[in-house]
Symmetry: C2
Subunit: 150 residues, 2 copies
């Protein structure tokens, strides 16, 4: 791979926010895949588990809203997790249009263990920045996401 060359001459690119974000994200995705591989879930799926594992049980649509994915995407995501016995769908008693999705015991367990691995991976990923700066970096990202003028 001509990666070294890429960095040597790529000034035009490493000035670009789009390029940087995309490739940093791609690299993180690789690390994430490696770190989560023993658990048999992707980063996306782990995020779904994390959202569903919060305090109260929520519907598919609510989960989709939090995750920022389409409701049709959520169907496939929950399908996959249910097939692996990590979550359970049941019809809501209050509103029978809704599927309430809850973690199974296996799901809870996997969530805990995989989250540890993810946290370790992220810490290592941000290590080049140094501790305080890593925290700052996360805050900056949160800021960019929150304060969109729309």
């Amino acid at each position: 791979m001509a990666e070294s060359g890429s960095r040597a001459t790529g000034d035009v690119l490493t000035q670009r926010l789009g390029y940087l974000l995309k490739h940093v994200q791609a690299r993180l995705a690789e690390e994430s895949a490696r770190a989560l591989e023993p658990f048999g879930v992707s980063g996306r799926e782990l995020a779904v588990l994390a959202v569903l594992g919060e305090d109260r049980p929520i519907s598919q649509l609510e989960g989709a809203g939090k995750l920022g994915v389409d409701r049709t995407t959520m169907v496939a995501l929950v399908d996959r997790l249910e097939r692996d016995g990590l979550v359970e769908r049941r019809r809501s008693e209050l509103d029978r249009r809704k599927n309430v999705v809850a973690l199974t015991e296996r799901g809870e367990d996997l969530l805990r263990r995989a989250e540890d691995a993810r946290r370790r991976m992220e810490r290592e990923f941000l290590a080049p920045l140094g501790g305080a700066e890593a925290e700052w970096f996360l805050r900056a990202l949160r800021l960019l996401l929150a304060d969109d003028s729309r």
Copy 2:
């Protein structure tokens, strides 16, 4: 879109580097699309133009290497730009396996104007961070991309 709800309860998510990067990138992509829409090129395509517009003419594969895209992806990218008369392929005289891709005058012109728009858009996008911090943010991204331990 239930974005506000997403932020209110999404603590589990806004702690996640993967979630943050993905969604910040998505938001930037939207802004980028809007900013470049008058020019008829996508952010990807503008990046290709920028790489090809550097000092010396380069081959498709070399360009692909810099951009970090597959060589088969590069074919389609250059196809599109050539169809619009922004670049020209010609066989290299030194190595006739290679396509040397160069900007046309139209391509040069569009590159200049669209790059201005992109720079403005990025500055505005990073505005919530404040000037010095925005610069710091870019440096952090570059660092994460450069210092991968591999």
